[in-house]
């Protein structure tokens, strides 16, 4: 397109330029022919500045022209129409009728214009709207002297060029991005003293002054120093390693290697606790080796797991007790934690993918988040040995437990020493109280308590090293711990008089574990690499009975003469021992091949194989008196389980990048298969001294088998623009054996945007802020139904047929052929900032979830059972903040603090007609949070005015009402680390808080239910408290109170041994640290420990032994 004007006036500057310069410029052109100049008009009154033609797309276009003997006007018409360039000029400016010749293939528009207008003495001035004006060469433009700067940016450490660095001329809009080799060029830089800035994520921003001379080249190189920030980190994703800055979602990261050495951490669960916003670790008991529960953000499901999945070195890892092979409930024992089969000393990093917006590509099961564990790898170089030894003691903190109350009674004039007289009985005329005595609970009596300080120890060593072609890491770790429990001294002495007391009965809780690891990485030529990671753990856990078989609960239930723990005392229950042994082999092989620089293919496979045995033994006569006379004639249980989880993946990633655009395309196919196989047998009625099933009079056995398979595929595309805007889109498709046969596949979409605002040239620089990123992600993920929900349930049981016991096969449940996975869709928005020379890092995240197709149990007409059906809808929304700051950063003293916050709110939106559950243990009711507690309101009236509230004078309302949340919707942690003497002496602490939830005081409930709490016995108790005390007898009434707590989780004093001393001892390095865990608790909860009473799902709540308090000393040496 072309516009002919007689006089051009686009902006004041142009008028000035034409008027002032036309004559002189024409003369100059005649004297000294000059090529056409391409200029850019500015929006203000400044003169135009030269353009870098390479950056103007319209000028970079290539044309094929054949212009023979045409006029300049005709030539310009041809060029502008072909290039779709709006070109303004006056005929007299360009000598329009002059003949020109131009014949060229694939010539740029800039070159074509230059040829046509050569010697015309004109400038082509581009306006912001894309139009261009041809004007007589302006003399005044000659005043705008410009030059070129060029150079290279290199890494201070590697000396290699750094691509993607933004080079900007301060005070102008001129900037460019370095090529992969770090080189750059900026043309048209106004002459004079200029400040040039180089910035790239992960490096310290640097500015240099340079003097730019007219029409000359100024060389300016930059050497950038690495400064890792949260955005520059590389994290493990489903498609391989990716820079955090490219992701639209937040990823929590724990550098395990450095933490384990300096923090009181003996397990993965302790490593995870309080270190990433939104991650909650629930430790159910203060015993050693016990079960732990993980929750990332809000719980998503009513009937399925609320725990994240765990992936170790790319392979699925069975982590929760619920997912562990079910050895049967007949043993009534505390579960142990499969997660803690891993050894924290072997781990390099743990990354937490928090929800569906991030976990989409991990497929069905990942809706609760993904915990990605990467074990340590060998590093090139000579062998480096590290060893550590740790020893300490754990004890249950001293707690003043509430006294038990005894009402001395007289009935019909006869005093009784064997039965207490409660207020309720007094009110109903069943006895007369003579007096009331407060008796301390046995836990407050040194001879009767089950608590005792017990030791724990750890030893470990590893070596790593290798060449470029072969790197290795080998490690061995041993751990031993005795639980802080024992049979009370008085009872142990009493038993020892009549029989031998085996050590396992004296100390019923113990834990021993051996971990071995071998990780080898081998380079196969220059384009391929194989990683073989293998781990082995052998664990033995002596564990307690669960529920009413735990004597801790018995300490509060009933008070019987001579039986301070009621009928189920530790002398009885500890005499039944249970030992679980787990041998677990875990390994993965990953091969990667990069046939071209842009293609990376990856194949991996791995197995998690566990052999589990759980044996319980109660010899005849050892347990003569328990609830329901269990075990009195002897019982032996031997359950053996085999669990296997295998995962295989094939994936490929193609990456392309130019200085402005990058592209990353990934696709993969994933297959996961899990199976478990259990054979259980038990024998009762043992002969004296016998301990084998074969000797039992009655033998029972059972067998179960469960298998599930998931096959998924995914495709992901990531585009990067100018290293500051990253767009992600992905899709995953899953099929699973647990889906209903009428449901074919689950489709999970994903999208994300990450915009590094601080690298945006057009954005004004925010003072003191080095990095600022906005991010948004959307994604869906799911959780598959449990095996058996999708198909008829078959069972084999025994029946009498023709007088003979015969195995019969029954079809128990219909199964739902329509059942499909629960789908969780999540939006996540947030920003990350680094400021004050990277002293402060801040990340804020908002997330919003909706779970559709919640699987609920729907009752069918009588006789047909129930169906698990996708009907429910739940939502949750939450906020997370992560702040770290270096307040002091000196050699003599430095001080760093960190703060994490997370909060969420869940809501059950629909149940689709399924039955709601109103329960004090946690339930689901439309319009209320998931797992909220409901309780029937209590009313009372002293009808007969006798000053006593009997059970007949209290009433529980018909409908249970909401009384509080069941799980903590808010959690915070605060860390503070002081370092002295060039960081050689360090002092740190971690405080954790959870709030906004209610907890059952089961201890109080058991005391009142057993008639021994003060409210049930002491006549001085005010009536309202009496009513509360007697309420458990009127129905299912629980004592629900705030469970908020703050805990001093960790305290560490660590010191590096002076190098001279270490070397004198032939060590490369040596560190000693004193570590304390769970040292203080602040709470208004009146039970023993609100953390230990954590719920398991929404259906169970037990009295938990308070969290153990431990001190330990650790030595680390390197050589």
């Amino acid at each position: 397109m072309i516009r002919l004007v007689s006089c051009v006036s686009i902006g004041v500057w142009l008028a000035i330029g034409i008027a002032a310069g036309s004559a002189s410029a024409a003369q100059a052109a005649a004297q000294e022919p000059q090529p056409v100049r391409f200029l850019l008009a500015s929006n203000n009154r400044e003169l135009p500045v030269p353009l870098d033609v390479g950056r103007i797309p319209v000028l970079r276009q290539r044309l094929t022209l054949d212009l023979q003997g045409v006029t300049v006007r005709e030539a310009l018409t041809a060029i502008s129409s072909r290039a779709r360039l709006v070109l303004w000029y006056a005929d007299d400016v360009i000598a329009a009728n002059r003949q020109v010749n131009l014949r060229a293939n694939e010539i740029t528009v800039a070159a074509a214009l230059t040829d046509v207008l050569v010697d015309a003495g004109v400038d082509v001035v581009f306006h912001r709207d894309g139009t261009a004006v041809i004007v007589k060469r302006m003399a005044s433009v000659a005043l705008v002297q410009v030059g070129t700067i060029s150079g290279r940016v290199t890494d201070s450490t590697s000396r290699e060029g750094i691509g993607g660095v933004v080079i900007a001329v301060e005070g102008t809009r001129l900037s460019t991005i370095t090529a992969a080799d770090g080189r750059y060029t900026i043309r048209g830089v106004p002459a004079g003293n200029r400040s040039i800035t180089a910035r790239r994520l992960g490096f310290v921003r640097r500015s240099q002054a340079v003097t730019v001379a007219d029409d000359s080249l100024a060389a300016i190189d930059f050497v950038l120093v690495r400064a890792p920030t949260m955005l520059s980190e590389v994290v493990t994703t489903a498609t391989g390693d990716q820079r955090l800055v490219e992701l639209g979602h937040v990823v929590g990261r724990i550098n395990a290697d450095s933490i384990v050495k300096s923090a009181p951490v003996s397990s993965i669960s302790e490593l995870l606790s309080g270190r990433v916003a939104g991650v909650q670790v629930n430790t159910y008991q203060g015993t050693v080796g016990g079960d732990v529960g993980l929750q990332v953000r809000a719980p998503n499901s009513i009937n399925l797991s609320t725990e994240p999945i765990v992936i170790v070195d790319g392979v699925r890892y069975t982590s929760s007790a619920a997912a562990r092979v079910d050895l049967g409930s007949g043993n009534f024992v505390e579960p142990t934690s499969p997660l803690n089969d891993l050894n924290p000393n072997e781990i390099e990093t743990i990354e937490i993918v928090k929800g569906p917006s991030a976990a989409t590509l991990y497929g069905t099961d990942a809706s609760n988040g993904v915990i990605i564990v990467t074990t340590k790898r060998g590093r090139t170089g000579p062998a480096k040995w590290n060893a550590h030894v740790k020893g300490g003691k754990t004890r249950i903190p001293d707690i003043r437990y509430p006294d038990a109350y005894w009402g001395w009674r007289t009935f019909a004039g006869v005093p009784s020493l064997t039965a207490s007289c409660s207020l309720d009985q007094v009110g109903r005329g069943q006895c007369t109280q003579d007096s009331v005595t407060a008796l301390p609970t046995p836990l407050n009596d040194s001879k009767l308590t089950i608590f005792q300080s017990e030791p724990r120890s750890e030893y470990g060593a590893n070596v790593s090293g290798g060449s470029h072609d072969l790197r290795y890491y080998f490690a061995v770790d041993l751990e031993n711990a005795t639980g802080p429990l024992r049979m009370p001294r008085a009872m142990a002495d009493s038993i020892s008089l009549v029989r031998e007391l085996p050590p396992e009965q004296l100390k019923p809780n113990a834990f021993a574990k051996v971990n071995l690891r071998s990780n080898v990485t081998a380079a196969l030529g220059s384009a391929a690499e194989v990683q073989v990671n293998a781990g082995y753990s052998s664990r033995s856990t002596r564990t307690l009975g669960a529920g009413f078989l735990n004597p801790y609960a018995g300490a509060f239930g009933r008070l019987l003469p001579g039986l301070p723990y009621g009928v189920a005392g530790p002398d009885q229950l500890f005499s039944r021992t249970t030992t679980e042994r787990v041998n677990r082999v875990f390994g993965s092989v990953t091969a990667s091949w990069s046939p071209t620089p842009w293609l990376l293919a990856r194949g991996s496979g791995g197995l998690d194989m566990a052999s589990i045995t759980r044996a319980s033994l109660a010899r005849r006569g050892d347990v003569p008196r328990t609830v329901f006379n269990l075990f009195s004639t002897g019982e032996v249980d031997d359950d053996r389980g085999r669990q296997l989880a295998g995962s295989w993946e094939l994936a490929a990633t193609a990456s392309f990048s130019s200085s402005q655009v990058s592209s990353r395309t990934s696709t993969g196919l994933q297959y996961v298969r899990t199976l478990d196989d259990v054979l259980g047998s038990s024998g009762t009625n043992l002969p004296p001294g016998a301990s084998t099933i074969g000797a039992a009079a009655t033998v029972r056995s059972s067998q179960s088998y469960r298998e599930q398979v998931t096959l998924g595929s995914y495709l992901e595309q990531v585009f990067g623009l100018n290293q500051r805007l990253f767009l992600t889109g992905a899709l995953r498709r899953d099929g699973a054996s647990t889906f209903g046969r009428n449901y074919t596949a689950a489709i999970y979409p994903k999208a994300g945007i990450s915009w590094l605002l601080s690298n945006e040239p057009s954005m004004p620089h925010i003072p003191m802020v080095e990095e600022l990123r906005l991010r948004y992600a959307f994604g869906a993920s799911g959780q598959q139904p449990k095996p058996g929900w999708n198909r008829p349930g078959y069972a084999v049981q025994q029946a009498l047929i023709g007088g003979a016991v015969t195995n019969v096969y029954t079809v128990n449940t219909l199964g739902n052929p329509e059942v499909r996975p629960e789908q969780v869709r999540e939006h996540e928005f947030g920003f990350d900032a680094t400021a004050l020379e990277r002293r402060v890092e801040l990340g804020l995240t908002w997330h919003d979830r909706k779970t559709v197709d919640q699987i609920v149990s729907v009752s069918l007409p009588p006789g047909l059972g129930s169906l698990m059906t996708n009907l429910g809808v739940t939502t949750s929304a939450g906020f997370e903040a992560q702040l770290s700051a270096r307040l002091l950063d000196g050699h003599a003293l430095s001080w760093e603090i960190g703060f994490l916050h997370s909060s969420y709110k869940t809501m059950l939106k629909e149940l689709g007609g399924a039955a709601e559950r109103r329960s004090p243990y946690g339930g689901w009711v439309v319009g209320y949070p998931l797992g909220a507690r409901f309780q029937r309101p209590l009313t009372y009236r002293d009808e007969n005015g006798d000053g006593i509230i009997s059970v007949l004078e209290v009433q529980l309302g018909d409908t249970a009402v909401f009384v509080g949340e069941g799980t903590p919707p808010r959690s915070q942690s605060f860390t503070s680390s002081l370092s002295f003497l060039d960081r050689r002496l360090r002092l740190s602490a971690l405080v954790e808080r959870r709030s906004g939830f209610t907890q059952l005081n089961a201890l109080h409930h058991d005391q009142c239910g057993g008639g021994i709490c003060r409210e049930r016995v002491d006549p001085r108790t005010p009536l309202p408290q009496q009513a509360v005390g007697i309420a458990p007898l009127a129905g299912d009434y629980q004592y629900i109170e705030s469970g908020d707590f703050t805990r001093l989780r960790e305290v560490v004093i660590a010191a590096d041994v002076p190098l001279a001393v270490a070397r004198a001892l032939r060590f490369r390095s040596a560190t000693v640290s004193l570590q304390g865990r769970n040292l203080a608790l602040w709470t208004s909860y009146s039970g023993a420990d609100p953390e230990s009473a954590s719920p398991r799902g929404f259906t169970q709540q037990e009295i938990g032994i308070p969290q153990g308090r431990s001190w330990s000393l650790r030595f680390d040496v390197g050589f």
């Binding site: 008829p792 052929p817 009588p862 006789g863």
Partner: protein, 362 residues
């Protein structure tokens, strides 16, 4: 419980008092429905396993099991409940049925059983008696007699029980061990004298007498692993006797006396013709009550007396003051209610079929 055969001490006092509450019968109703569902689900599985011969026998047996479960519902529960089906593991909800329609469904199952298991005498006889019992319920007496005619008098098919297998004890035997159910004795005035009759077919033990009530157990279930007879040749003969009486055939009495002479040792004395039709009917039903005690027949018989023989309810079911646990010296718990059948849980069924209106009659 609802009938005069047993007296409840603990478990289902509502039914024992002829309670009309719709939830009172939920548990027994659910159990019968579970048997129907289990048999229905087993049918396709059995059809795909085993040899042709065993397949036919097992499928036939499963049809018979479903037929007896359907009979239990027809005889015991008020009309108006649905029979749900399961097709390819998907529930297909039914509509309200009359008692005769439920008997028809049972009849269809027994017909299927006879077709499939024609080579198995055991199953054929089981199905013949079920068929005869169904026809009796519908009131087709001659057809009923003919249906069971080929079953030998000595034939018996029982449900087996075990003490060592979890949850498989004889429910009556277990109840007697836990002191919760007693043999009835002229309950509510109109009930039969099961305890006082000193009938050799029903030998009893008096366990205790307290507050004006006596607790009896029957020796036939003294062992909680004793079997319960589901169908027998004796029942076939009893059906023939009733059909003969209905038809005015005088052989009805000889059939009863033949049973008394041959099916128990020592033989019982022969019965005399009481002389009137109502008394003859009473005699036939009394013989049924004692021969078939504790086998789930009595409630159906009492209902038949009302439906088929137009007997007033008061003359058949217990009436008057109801004493909880039978303890007449303690305050009464109220009066007997009007129920002559077990109410089905209509409120639950309505959730799946709003057309279900509850009991359409008693």
């Amino acid at each position: 419980m609802l009938a005069d055969e047993l007296f409840d001490y603990a478990y289902l006092p509502g039914l024992d008092q002829r309670e009309t509450n719709s939830t009172a019968g939920e548990t027994p109703y659910t159990r019968w429905m579970e048997v129907r569902r289990a048999a229905t689900l087993a049918l396709p599985e059995l059809l795909s396993h085993g040899s042709e011969a065993t397949k036919r026998e097992y499928v036939g047996e499963m049809f018979a099991v479903r037929g007896y479960a359907t009979l239990g519902l027809a005889e015991g529960f008020c009309p108006g409940f649905p029979l749900h089906e399961v097709v390819a593991f998907k529930p297909v909800f039914g509509t309200a049925l009359s008692t005769d329609q439920v008997f028809d469904r049972a009849l269809a199952d027994f017909d299927s059983a006879l077709t499939f298991a024609r080579d198995s005498t055991r199953i054929v006889n089981l199905a013949r008696i079920g068929r005869a019992r169904s026809l009796l319920g519908i009131g087709r007496y001659a057809d009923a007699a003919q249906a069971g005619a080929l079953v030998p008098s000595k034939f018996s098919s029982s449900a087996e029980y075990s003490l060592t297998l979890r949850g498989q004890a004889n429910p009556l035997g277990y109840a007697w061990q836990t002191y919760s159910v007693s043999v009835g004795n002229r309950e509510g005035g109109s009930g039969l004298d099961f305890a006082a009759a000193s009938d050799p077919r029903l030998t009893l033990q008096l366990l205790f007498s307290e507050f004006g009530a006596s607790y009896y157990t029957a020796d036939k279930y003294a062992d909680p692993s004793a079997p319960i007879v589901i169908a027998s040749g004796i029942e076939a003969r009893l059906i023939e006797a009733e059909a003969a009486l209905k038809a005015g055939d005088p052989t009805w009495l000889s059939i009863l006396n033949d049973l008394r002479a041959t099916q128990i040792s020592p033989a019982m004395a022969a019965l005399n013709d009481p002389g009137s039709d109502p008394a003859r009917v009473d005699l036939v039903f009394r013989e049924r009550a004692f021969w078939l005690f504790g086998t789930g027949h009595r409630l159906g018989d009492m209902r038949r007396l009302i439906r088929r023989y137009a007997r007033p309810v008061e003359s058949v079911f217990p009436t008057g003051i109801y004493y909880l646990g039978g303890f007449t010296q303690l305050p009464p718990a109220g009066e007997y209610g009007p129920a002559t059948s077990i109410p089905f849980p209509s409120e639950i069924e309505k959730q799946y079929n709003p057309a279900i209106a509850g009991c359409t009659s008693n």
